[in-house]
Amino acid sequence: MSGYLPIALMLVVAALIGIISVSVGFLIRPRKPEKVKLSVYECGMPEFSDARQRYNVRFYVIAMLFVIFDVETVFLFPWAVSFDVLGLFGLIEMIIFIIILVFGYFYAWKKGALEWA
Amino acid sequence: MENILSILIFFPVVAAVFIMIFSKSGKFAMWSAFIASVIEFILTIPLMTNFDKGSAGMQFVERYYWIRSLNIDYYLGVDGISILMVFLTTFLSAIAILGSFTYIQKRQKEFYVSMLVLEAAMVGVFCALDFFLFYIFWEAMLIPMYLIIGVWGGQRRIYAAVKFFLYTLAGSVFMMLAIIALYFKYGSMTGEYTFDILKISAMGAQFPLGFQIIVFLAFFFGFAIKVPMFPFHTWLPDAHVEAPTAGSVILAGVLLKMGTYGFLRFCLPITPIASIKFVPLVAILSVIAIIYGGLVAMVQEDVKKLVAYSSVSHMGFVTLGIYAFNQSGIEGGILQMFNHGIITGALFLLIGLIYERTHTRLIADYGGIAAKVPVYATVFLIFTMASVALPSMGGFIGEFLVLVGAFKAFPTYAGLAALGVIVSAVYMLWMYQRVFFQSVNPNLHHLDDMTVREVFYMIPLIIVVFWTGMYPETFTSYMHESVKALVEQLNAVSVAMK
């Protein structure tokens, strides 16, 4: 457990640095809000509409692919660590696993999930 | 000859499939169905002639493995009781099909297919010697009958069909549970798991009383609905009235008999002790059915409904006779079953053919038609007389034997039942008077008499009615031995109980 205590401390320190550096200028920085300054940037024009509109679904597809592939990658890590212990059977199993992954990958490819045009 | 029962069961099915596939017109369907049913009837004749009347056991036995994992066999056979029922079934089916030629105007093909399938299932019920097989046939009758009532029936046909179906099903599912229970009970007692009706029957007396009572009640519930006995009879008027003629004929002629057949075949031998314990219940319900059915019939305005309620009354005699537990009572009951099938079937056919002409069944719409349709009036009179049990006609012998048997067993009930005979005379004759005599209803100017075809199918019925009335020995000789064996078994049990 002791290995993780420094990490917790590190997180705390990092957070403190962040918070402090945001708030340190609080006393000295000017504060002159005005309407135009407080509007969001849109090439200098008054803002047109709310920005949170529907956007390209491809971003979503990419996110989905990532979730799947990344989690599959996670399975590779423990396998790689204990590769020696698992031996041939582990290798075969992981190759099967990767084959399934590859099929899914090429399927996504062929279906155009990886295209961005 | 050894496969005659299978042939009897499956020939109509084959014919039905044949009709379904090859029939292009209704006419073709109806003629081929008729021919098939006549062949079926002809096939029963060698069955009757080759039957060994001197034996109480099962004959023409067939047995093949069917579902080995549960020891279910394809097991058929007939004894003196069931052979008469098989005869009745094939006989009435042929006549009912012939009687539908003009009555059924729409979707003839389907109708005749249903009739043939129904016939096969009915024969199967009477021949089955394996509980499971029996139950299959028993339930398989429901679908064609349901369709016959529902598709070709009268105004309230849907209601009637559903009611018929659900009542019967409700009764029979408990029977199924009883059958399964028997299977395990017999298995645990002997180590042999089987659905063999004969083997289980032979063990009947040894089942513990509590178990017998449960099984008896389950069976009783199923059969009483089918008979129908007094509190369970409400489906019957609806079903009979709404069904097409052929449906009513089969319903009254054969289906009702299955209930009483079930009592004879299952309740008595398998649960003898419980049966003896429940004699008062059954006897009282029978007497109520006889009198109540008669009284209700008296006030009916619809001829068909009247006949339907008369069935309740007549079937009361059957159950009364069976539960007398003596030779004459049971034989009378069986004979009454047979006769009731013929007579009520004929009455329904007659009502059907006049309905085709007038499209009404209300007594008030008729009157004085005897002069217009003399042949019809004569035939109707014959069956009315048979129904009120005029001596020399079929009905008399049956009711007489039942009453003789019942007097031996329970005189009070028998006395009350005898009242029922009088009631039946009242309502039948009164009905006959109102329909055929009195003043002519002005609406009935064009009324044709019976056609040759109609006369042709009434003749065999008339012959049988007189035959059973004059010379019942022809039929009773078949059942003597079987009934004797049954009575002996029951006596042994009742002696043991004392």
Binding site: I96, Y107 | A161, A170, A181
Partner: protein
């Protein structure tokens, strides 16, 4: 190592074939996607034939976490049947709605892999993995018709409640793991027989876990998703969903009860019997009130889960066999019914699946109506149709184990159920049509319903062969 591979050989084969299907899907043109399904049929038949456990052998794999035996095989047959019928029967429906995509078949195919893991699992981890493989595929299937709001809703509802139920399942599982120290069925059984079931936490875990499984079989009171999902999903998908996942969850429950709960069987009998009674009764009573046949069949699917649960309650070999047999029979009759239902079309006046659509069908389309009649009466359990054999088997098992009251409740329910199945036939045969309805029977659907009808009849009359398939050896 070899035994490991052999023990998952069927699943492995199915996976490989599934991957091949993906390749085929990618390579076929848009208008010939049904080929993917047909290849799937071919593959699944090969897989079934290749995985028959000759002589009733039984192979444990991966440290006794799963097993391939006759019992798994019986359920594999059920899944294969469901797949084959759904595939053939769905082609026309999917093409009509413009959702004939290879994915439909691929997802169905992979869901079967999950189901196979479920029934052959002897370890909770494997069970969970299989269950989720199945469930996730099912969410997609339910929402497969992307442009149809109903289908979207079905998919989402199924998803939210399905995920919720798996979370409950998992929470229970974690307790069982924590307090017994194992996830293997056999070791759980040892723990129970050693210590009894007095530990509250284990009991809680069991209840939560079984509740999670009960969600999957749509047992009351965990059924609330079922009607909407079954109603909204594309009809062939519904047919599949009412059969295969239910069979798989049943198989999993049976194996769990059979091995892990064996020492405490008597205590769990009550739990399952309450579940069974509620499920049957609720499903049937609500089905009575439905005017949409699809929804009615959805509720009937709930009630059928109740009948199957009777087999669990029996806690004897016969009951477990009965469940396998029942699911097999149910596959034929229910998918058959859904195939026909998927063909009903009227011109936008009322919903296609309304009861009124069936009015007068008997006259207009006699063959289709006859098939529907057979399915309905089979579902109702009228002999000599297959449905009766299933019910008979179930009730036999119940009586054998002495829970006669449950059998009585069961038969009363089947009588009630009869009424709503009959309503369909009433409309088909006894009523005149009010709306113009067309049934566009193409070759594929015809073959699917024909297969179903033939098997419903054949199993009804000659059940021996099929009963022998579900005969398995006890552990």
């Amino acid at each position: 190592m070899i035994s490991n591979l052999v023990s998952i050989m069927p699943e492995l084969l199915m996976t490989i074939f599934g991957l091949v299907l993906i390749a085929i899907d990618v390579m076929t043109r848009k208008n010939s996607k049904s080929g993917v399904g047909y290849f799937g049929i071919f593959f699944i038949i090969i897989a079934v034939l290749a995985s028959i456990p000759v002589g009733g052998f039984k192979i444990f794999g991966f440290g006794q976490t799963l097993v391939w035996d006759m019992y798994s095989f019986a359920f594999f047959c059920v899944f294969a049947i469901a797949y084959i019928l759904t595939t053939i029967g769905s082609v026309d429906y999917l093409r009509e709605r413009d959702i004939l995509k290879g994915e439909f078949y691929i997802i169905t195919y992979f869901s079967i892999v999950g189901m196979m893991f479920m029934v052959s699992a002897t370890d909770l981890a494997v069970l969970y993995a299989g269950m989720e493989t199945m469930a996730i595929s099912m969410y997609i299937l339910a929402g497969f018709e992307k442009k149809n709001l109903k289908s979207n809703e079905a998919g989402l509802k199924y998803f939210i409640i399905g995920a919720f139920s798996s979370a409950i399942f998992l929470f229970g599982l974690s307790y069982i793991y924590g307090y017994t120290g194992t996830t293997k069925y056999a070791e759980i059984a040892q723990m129970i027989s050693a210590n009894g079931l007095n530990n509250f936490n284990i009991k809680l875990g069991m209840v939560m876990m079984l509740a999670g499984l009960a969600f999957k079989i749509s047992a009351v009171p965990f059924h609330m998703w079922a009607p909407d999902v079954y109603n909204g999903a594309p009809t062939p998908a519904t047919g599949f969903m009412t059969v295969a996942p239910k069979a798989a969850a049943m198989g999993a429950i049976v194996r769990f009860v059979w091995i892990a709960l064996e020492p405490a069987a008597a205590q769990w009998q009550l739990f399952f019997s309450i579940l069974a009674v509620l499920t049957m009764t609720y499903g049937n009573l609500v089905a009575l009130a439905q005017n949409n046949v699809k929804r009615m069949l959805a509720y009937s699917a709930i009630s059928h889960a109740g009948y199957m649960l009777i087999g669990v309650v029996s806690m004897n070999e016969l009951g477990y066999q009965a469940i396998a047999f029942y699911t097999m029979v149910y596959a034929f009759m229910n998918i058959g019914a859904f195939t026909i239902l998927s063909l009903m079309k009227n011109k936008g006046i009322i919903e296609d699946e309304r009861l009124e659509s069936f009015a007068g069908l008997g006259k207009k389309y006699p063959i289709i109506s006859l098939a529907m009649l057979i399915f309905m009466f089979s579902l109702a359990g009228i002999p000599p149709l297959a449905g009766f054999m299933g019910k008979f088997y179930i009730f036999t098992s119940a009586i054998k184990s002495g829970v006669i009251w449950l059998a009585i409740v069961g038969v009363i329910n089947s009588v009630i159920a009869c009424y709503y199945y009959m309503r369909v036939t009433i409309f088909m045969y006894f009523k005149e049509p009010e709306y113009e309805v067309t049934v566009d029977m193409k070759a594929a659907s015809f073959i699917a319903s024909l297969i179903a009808v033939v098997f419903v009849l054949v199993i009804g009359v000659f059940p021996s062969f099929f009963m022998n398939i579900v005969k398995f050896m006890i552990v």
